[in-house]
């Protein structure tokens, strides 16, 4: 018989192990799924998780896909540390991409080193603005930021669609819903010839460092953590909760907006409706999986980028639906939340007599 009992203190070890356990469970489920689909499980997993990384191009693509996820997830981590449930990184990314693209299209004829920074700044500001809306709604009207940020995701997508179907549509584009190609001076330089790795990857790494310092070494970071742990304590300590909420949402919006503008000035090179295959949503999983810690998030974003690449790879190699990506993402998060049970509880093997004498500490386990 198994007995579930509450741990006297949270297990730090399980805090680290639970994401690993969740990843393993996802792999096992994936193997079963491949079996169910009539594929060899080992071949399926190999194609999904190993083959994408078998050459330099694959490794470089991992960086390209991880960068936007990483940027969004770093911002989300700061929000979640403050218990601000921002689900809107996707919309903030899209709006950043839209505003950045608008700036890039205004500067098609411009030359010079100042052009690209200006475009990137416009994108980041666009994302910041999109983060400011739910922040102000929460601080001034007490609205639930989960619902407002979700709605703003849909609104941002529709504004973007309006842009590519309307004012930003390429006049010479045969009526396709996409903008003109950006000029050379508004495109990100690549780091490696023959790959799509662009300097935006460095920005993402820089963001990891900045957020790390912010959270662990600054007073604002301290205030954010206190706010998240105990809002009342933060209140009594005299912290301005409203300012902190605005700060974290604008920070996240700025990073997500930067991720968006990096996509359009980097790998894509123009504004298209499919700027993001759900990077902003994947970043939610990454933030949790990385335990809201910069280093954890860095690792988790690489895993998530691999999941995107794996989905494409099984489609090309095995003819399986690319939607496997979304399925793996969902499983990963759900397994993680389930495994987190072990942080607070432990399961012990006990004798039959002892088990029947003691009531289980928790339901359903």
């Amino acid at each position: 018989m198994f007995k579930v009992e509450k741990r006297p203190v949270e297990s730090r070890l399980m805090g680290y192990l639970s994401p690993v356990l969740a990843a393993v469970l996802t792999l096992v489920s994936g193997a079963l799924l491949f079996l169910l689909l009539g594929q060899s499980p080992l071949e399926g997993l190999y194609t999904f998780f190993v083959m994408p990384l078998s050459d330099l191009y694959g490794l470089s693509e991992l960086g390209v896909k991880a960068a936007p996820i990483l940027l969004c997830a770093m911002g989300l981590a700061v929000c979640y540390r403050a218990k601000v449930w921002n689900i809107g990184a996707e919309g903030q990314l899209l709006f950043g991409a839209l505003i950045g693209s608008w700036a890039a299209l205004q500067l098609l004829q411009a030359e010079g080193a100042w052009v690209l920074p200006l475009v990137l700044l416009a994108g980041a500001l666009g994302g910041m603005f999109w983060g400011l809306i739910p922040a102000l709604l929460r601080t001034h009207f007490n609205t639930n930021e989960i619902l407002t940020t979700i709605m703003l995701n849909y609104i941002a997508l529709n504004v973007l669609l309006y842009g590519v179907h309307g004012p930003l549509k390429d006049p010479d584009g045969y009526n396709f819903p996409e903008s003109a190609l950006f000029s050379e001076s508004t495109l990100l330089p690549t780091l490696l010839d023959g790959t799509r790795v662009h300097i935006g990857v460095l920005f993402a790494l820089l963001a990891v460092a900045v957020v790390w310092v912010l959270l662990s070494r600054t007073f604002v970071g301290f205030q954010i953590r206190v706010l998240g742990l105990d809002a009342r304590a933060a209140h009594y300590a005299g912290y301005h909760e409203k300012h902190l909420v605005i700060f974290v949402l604008m920070l996240c919006g700025g990073l997500a907006g930067l991720a968006g503008v990096l996509e359009v000035t980097g790998p894509i090179g123009q504004l298209v409706p499919q700027v993001s295959p759900g990077y902003g949503y994947a970043a939610i999983i990454v933030a949790f999986l990385g335990r809201l810690h910069p280093v954890g998030i860095l690792l988790a974003s690489l895993l998530m980028a691999l999941v995107y690449m794996g989905g494409e790879m099984v489609q090309i190699e095995l003819g399986l639906p690319q939607a496997l990506t979304g399925l793996f993402q969902g499983m990963l998060l759900l397994y993680l939340l389930a495994c987190d049970f072990l942080i607070h509880y432990r399961i012990r093997l006990v004798g039959r007599a002892a088990a029947s004498a003691a009531a289980p500490a928790s339901e359903g386990a």
């Binding site: 449930w85 689900i87 709604l137 009207f141 007490n142 609205t143 639930n144 989960i146 619902l147 407002t148 979700i150 709605m151 703003l152 849909y154 609104i155 529709n158 504004v159 669609l161 309006y162 179907h165 309307g166 949503y281 939610i284 999983i285 949790f288 639906p321 939607a323 496997l324 990506t325 979304g326 399925l327 793996f328 993402q329 969902g330 499983m331 998060l333 759900l334 939340l337 389930a338 987190d340 049970f341 607070h344 009531a359 500490a361 928790s362 339901e363 359903g364 386990a365």
Partner: protein
């Protein structure tokens, strides 16, 4: 505007509001038991795709509806096991359910994209449907719309007049006291979550079998989220859920009205309207903190641990 146009708009409003009504009623019952399930969107998607696949392969719409509800239930069970059984945070678990539902539905529906089924047809009720104005508006719908009327009445009756309903509300307010007097908190919460799942599945099935009888990836388009806002809008009262659902239905078909009046605005801008309306409504209703606190079930979203 002539009277026929108005009737047509109101008729479309009811059809568009129906999935919102169904899923929001489910979430209402769930939240009244103290459980906040943010996974409505995911459960709707899985319900929509399962309902469609079963209807398309068996040719039976009835089996499709059953499958949609069962699929919603299974998703809800997953939520229950993790959020109630393993005490994970309800917010994160609900989000996980939506992400999983989006992925799962896209995956299993991959080969059905672009197919159609012969969806539910309008079923005019004899005599009643001949009443002027009201007849064509209320009594000329498909069977699922009638079912939603019944559900609405049923939920009101359940919460107001049954012992089980009172038990559910008590558990949502103070689970500790409820346990003390011997009420089965966990069992009731599981059942409430499962009911919410069945309703979300049914709402998804309504979309893929009646509203637009086809499967398209992500076809719920945020209706699950709007339903969550709707429950806040209704301040956890079933009567107001119906009013709100039709109001949102109206907001969603405003583009038809605007086009009907001959105004041309980009369809993408008009498609934003339901989401903008949702935010505006949240602003209007949440500003009064005291009011929200007064009506929200007191234990909403808080995990409950049975004391030893």
């Amino acid at each position: 505007m002539d009277i026929d146009f108005i009737i047509n708009v109101l008729y479309a409003m009811i059809r568009t509001g129906t999935p919102l009504l169904i899923v929001a009623l489910g979430e209402l019952v769930c939240e009244r038991s103290g459980v906040l399930n943010l996974g409505q969107e995911g459960m709707m998607l899985v319900g929509a795709v399962c309902g469609f696949i079963v209807a398309a392969t068996t040719g039976s719409l009835f089996l499709g509806v059953l499958a949609a509800m069962l699929a919603g239930c299974l998703m809800a069970l997953l939520f229950g096991l993790v959020a109630l059984g393993l005490s994970a945070t309800q917010v994160a678990t609900g989000l996980a359910l939506t992400i999983l539902g989006a992925g799962l539905s896209a995956f299993i529906g991959e080969s059905f994209v672009g197919q159609t089924v012969q969806g539910f047809k309008a079923l005019p009720i004899p005599l009643l449907s001949e009443i002027p104005l009201l007849g064509p508006l209320l009594f000329n719908h498909d069977v699922l719309v009638y079912l939603s009327f019944g559900l609405f009445a049923g939920v009101i009756w359940f919460l107001r007049s049954t012992r089980a309903g009172l038990m559910l509300k008590a558990i949502g307010e103070t689970p500790e006291s409820a346990t003390a007097v011997g009420l089965p908190v966990m069992r009731v919460r599981y059942l409430a979550v499962l009911f919410g799942g069945a309703m979300a599945g049914l709402a998804g099935g309504y979309l893929s079998l009646a509203y637009t009888p086809l499967w398209a990836e992500g076809m719920t388009a945020g209706r699950g989220w709007i339903a969550l806002a709707l429950v806040v809008f209704a301040s956890w009262r079933a009567e107001r859920v119906m009013f709100g659902a039709y109001l949102f239905g109206l907001a969603s078909i405003l583009h038809l009205i605007v086009q009907g009046m001959g105004v041309s605005i980009s369809s993408n801008l008009l498609a934003m309207l339901p989401y903008v309306v949702t935010i505006l409504v949240l602003v209007l209703l949440s500003s009064d903190k005291a009011r929200v606190r007064l009506y929200a079930p007191m234990s909403l979203g808080k995990p409950f641990h049975r004391t030893q």
